[in-house]
Symmetry: C2
Subunit: 111 residues, 2 copies
DNA sequence: TATAATGCATAGCTATTCTATGTATTTTAA
DNA sequence: TTAAAATACATAGAATAGCTATGCATTATA
């Protein structure tokens, strides 16, 4: 399943693309934003987030730039790429198809 | 994520419980039924299905009984248990919560 | 001044799903 | 009638994802 409908193995990549497409963000901010917006539902771990971000950057869907605050603090901001936006549209469609399929199983029109 | 919201790691177990709760089935039939009802979307592989069924049986959510057809053909039918039904209700609620959370990210009320 | 929060990162574990097989029987089509 | 396709169950091995646990460093708070 995973190869053909990546949604099943997790929605992490999609969620990250959605979020970063709305606004460039850095890792820690992503964790907090996902938690805030989902009203506490999503609590990403670093061990989930950072490898995912690196994976998405390596795939050319995101790109990152280090930014230095006046305080000297370093932050790594992630931006979505054109390719990332195209994939995002695809993933959104796939998600809808997946929901339809699940509903056909869970609430069958015919048994 | 996987430990707290199993849905993310895949919906295989939920789909199987839903299906078998509606009607006891054997493995091959499950593969065909999932494909038919989802209009071709779900195409479970044996390597996905059978380990999953064994897993669910071991967890006490399903139980199986061999049945012999007049032709002599053997089929292993799976039935949902009481525990399986309870877990099914839980999973359905979790799935709804997950959908709500995803929508809050994908279509944010506030950005 | 200790603790919590911010900020990035990786190593190792476990679980899940896939691919690729294997075996055997029954039905269908050439 | 016989080859091929469908039916039916099963597992080994590989890939991958997400988790736990940990490390380091800085800044804000109690």
């Amino acid at each position: 399943m995973a190869k053909r409908h990546e949604l099943m193995k997790g929605s992490v990549d999609s969620l990250l693309l959605h979020l970063i497409a709305q606004q460039p963000m850095y890792g820690y901010q992503i964790i907090k934003e996902l938690e805030r917006r989902s009203q506490g539902y999503f609590k990403f771990r670093e061990g989930t987030l950072y490898p995912a971000l690196h994976r998405l950057e390596k795939a050319g869907l995101l790109l990152s730039r280090w930014q230095t605050l006046p305080s000297g603090q370093q932050r790594r901001y992630y931006y979505i790429t054109d390719k990332g936006n195209r994939v995002l549209v695809e993933k959104r469609n796939q998600w809808q198809e997946f929901l339809v399929a699940v509903n056909l199983i869970v609430q069958p029109a015919d048994a």
